[in-house]
Symmetry: none
Subunit: 532 residues, 2 copies
């Protein structure tokens, strides 16, 4: 019996975007769509064109090569025809392969929230689906609050589902909108819906309000549904959406699933899973969840003595799947052996070749461990990692030395009586035998001032760093032991458009920024082949 | 039919203690045991006496009044009698009501990890349980890797369970040690075990490596088990243990469960659930999970326009349970989709009453929209939002005015030849007719220096802010149009333990921090009833 194809539908950019503190810019949306496309996701729901200008702009052009691009919106307003509904017009204007309509399927909502008749709601579903289908789109219906609706009035909920299916919808998605349904209920209800909509036209959209979103999604496909909606890292308002990263890991790797269910994701794409997860967190400047299944930094990290030695004897004794399959690493925190092999591979990846038996490898490992204990994170800061290794190999020339810097931020009344804040920096640098002092103002604050001053005059290296600029700056403050530690990540670019990221850590944010800036300049000089 | 009693077993202090970065002191352990006891947990597993001095000391005295105190350890070593086993001796010395033995139940482990015969392993289980029972303790057996063991060799796994039960164990706990088992498998296997051990003697110990720990725990009790093991906030190594906070919320509040299952937790204790969850995070200095089911800060927070107005009409339309039952709050967030209805409700929530027709309401809405367009976010910054409204209402006294501040960060060689970075701040403040100038150094950087200087001398208000301290500081940098904008969130606390959050936005991080600090002090003064 061949495996059943499960379609993955990502709503990070629509439902996920409703998370507190999450704001995707247009560039962010394009980047996420690219990540999802390369990962092998089947549908990317880009947003709600017509509802806000950013989403309307995002739908001016399809951002994916393989994944279908889906636009979300509401069924037609009561009292209007589908042809005269501005919401539907906006959806049809969008450059989307698929249109996802959301509709009420709980009679209580139809009465209280919409204040229309049950029949009118069904007509709205039918006419909206027909209009989108007539315009050549793949159509889906998200049945809002489906499970509560089914429990309250099963006939009406089923009528909504059947109406959409009969009107030509490719998918009817059963949404557990408030996340309050439990796994065994999901199974029973999905089986009931299959009397009116075949399983291969059914999708599940779960939320994590009871901590069961993943289990609910799995229960639905066990019961015959074939589409799972979720988000990267379970992003979403309240307690989040079903975590597609967890679901991909489970469906691809668990013996229980991999024979029976097939995804549009191959082994190579699966190997990128950890990076995709981290990329989203970095973009949103969210601390990654160390404990995330499959891809979390600690997902395979064992501390207990009784486990650790057994893991090394035979990982199968303790790990349920292999971490490398999802691009994660096994971290056995009290042993070096796993460490060296990983390290050789990581260094190779960034262009540094050190053999396993090279004594310098051990010193690099020690340095990485020590720095990580202080709060450094080299994932995502390849240029600083490169310099760390090269410094131990004695291959970083002494280009310049910052003998002193001073950064001021001052807020006072200016001559016009306005309260203004300004920043300035002085940097004293030794380049060979020359001592250079530079000063700069920073309209964008003290780090800006320091950056400009550092790069203002580096003597004989000045031409090599002329095109260097700071393009992104991320700050994270966390507890490193008893004190707060600031970690700064700086992304730089040069005149060729090449980009690299460096990291700095200190209790002091200016100091952390300074380290990252110095690493950035040093890296650029090394890549330019400058001699010390 | 009466409800089945479910016993909750907390292993925060044993399994949870194995989490990376978690170290409980003796005082911490006592505090957590107290929290669990007052919450109504049935068993508190305190640790592994004999394995380390801290745990041995913790078991010198029972720390709970109602909860049973449980000690964890291994079954007897092969080749020794139970009477001559030092591990068992340590367990029997502990002042514990219950002893929990962990034993292998997967034949592969017995061979590879223990290197003994299957029979010897059963004998070890039998004799250990008998020894503890003879000493008057309640005895439990944790069957390690039970589900994998059952799949590999069902007869042997069942034999381990039966042996313990027949030797007098009160509970046989089926452990999904590597977290790789899925909910439907759990149900099937638990049902099979009930052929040799009655359900009311069975427990479940799940891990979250597939994101299914909560669902697995629920599946087990649906299948007849009556004890659930887990930790507060799902604390635990790798992906964590089953989250008891989520399980308590679900079992007490979901209609599906509350008739059929009873916990030892009453409604009043349930109302403390959010506080218990936060108390553990504070103790471990871990950022609380905003998205945690039931108790997370965002668990009931809705941003989307289509949801918000419906929630206010009738919360039942969108919430699966009532937040107040677990000591949480409903938050309808301010966003640029928010209208006047949202705003009135939000203001009410933070203690500001403005009628829908009050002209000032419109001005507050305008101010919020304008500030949000500049990059402010008032979600999670209630104190700044409160001040914004109160300023428009003309109800914020002119307590103090910062005429000038200056912050320096300097890095240079000190007298010993070391390169050091230090920060200092000068602040000039006008309080009534007094002009005060204060200076401070900041070991933790420029914002620290500015904060200390600002609070050093506020004249007649100084006593009111004496207990004020900065407890958390978050920075986010993002694109606000063409320029980068820095948003700072500062959480402050006072001597009563009350906490509030303020926000500041600027291109300049020091300036943004300054705004948030000034708001924090002003808020504190207002709450203290200080007059201008």
């Amino acid at each position: 019996m061949s495996a059943a194809r499960i379609h993955l539908f990502d709503t990070t950019l629509r439902d996920g975007a409703q998370t507190t503190g999450v704001d995707f810019s247009l560039d962010d949306k394009r980047a996420v769509a690219g990540l999802l496309d390369r990962l092998g996701i089947d549908y990317v729901e880009g947003g709600y064109p017509g509802a806000n200008p950013l989403d309307t702009a995002f739908f001016a052009e399809k951002p994916t090569k393989h994944a279908k691009f889906a636009a979300f919106g509401m069924t037609k307003r009561a009292g209007r025809s589908a042809a005269n509904d501005p919401g539907i017009a906006a959806l049809l204007e969008a450059k989307a392969d698929a249109i996802v309509f959301v509709a009420k399927s709980w009679d209580y909502h139809v009465h209280v929230a919409l204040e229309i008749s049950l029949e009118d709601n069904l007509a709205g579903i039918r006419e909206s689906v027909e209009a989108a289908k007539a315009a050549g789109r793949e159509v889906m219906l998200d049945c809002e609050h489906f499970f509560d609706g089914y429990k309250a009035n099963p006939d009406y909920a089923l009528a909504c589902a059947r109406t959409a299916y009969e009107a030509g919808a490719r998918w009817v998605v059963l949404c557990d909108t408030n996340g309050g349904t439990l796994p065994d209920e999901i199974g029973t209800i999905v089986a009931a819906v299959e009397k009116v909509v075949p399983g291969d036209h059914l999708g599940i959209h779960a939320h994590d309000d009871c901590g069961c979103a993943v289990a609910n999604s799995l229960a639905a496909i066990e019961a015959g549904a074939r589409q799972i909606q979720g988000t990267l890292n379970g992003l979403g308002e309240r307690c989040g959406n079903a975590n597609l990263v967890t679901l991909i890991g489970a469906l691809k790797l668990k013996e229980r699933y991999r024979e029976r269910f097939a995804l549009g994701i191959d082994e190579k794409q699966l190997g990128e899973l950890s990076q995709v997860s981290r990329a989203l967190d970095e973009m949103l400047n969210r601390a990654p969840n160390r404990h995330a299944p499959f891809v979390g930094a600690s997902a395979f990290a064992t501390k207990a003595g009784i486990h650790a030695s057994a893991v090394l004897k035979d990982p199968r004794t303790y790990e349920h799947v292999s971490p490398e399959a999802v691009g994660n690493r096994r971290k056995v925190l009290i042993s070096d052996q796993g460490g060296k092999s990983n390290l050789v591979a990581e260094l190779e990846r960034i262009g540094v070749t050190l053999g396993r038996d090279d004594p310098r490898l051990g010193r690099v490992l020690e340095e990485v461990k020590e720095k990580e204990a202080q709060g450094y994170a080299f994932e995502g800061a390849d240029a600083s990692f490169y310099l760390l290794a090269k410094r131990i190999m004695g291959e970083v020339p002494a280009y310049f030395e910052v003998e002193r810097f001073k950064v001021n931020v001052e807020r006072r009344y200016n001559a016009l009586g306005d309260l203004v804040t300004f920043s300035e920096a002085i940097v004293k640098v030794k380049v060979g035998d020359e001592v250079l002092i530079s000063a700069a103002e920073g309209a964008a604050g003290p780090v800006n001032a320091l950056d400009v001053a550092l790069r203002k005059d580096l003597g004989r290296y000045q031409s090599l760093i002329a095109g260097l600029r700071l393009v992104d700056y991320k700050v994270r403050i966390f507890q490193g032991g008893t004190d707060a530690v600031t970690r700064v990540l700086i992304e730089s670019a040069d005149e060729t458009g090449e980009r690299w990221t460096t990291v700095g850590v200190s209790a002091n944010i200016i100091d952390a920024s300074f380290q990252a800036l110095v690493d950035s300049i040093t890296y650029k000089l090394m890549r330019s082949g400058a001699t010390g």
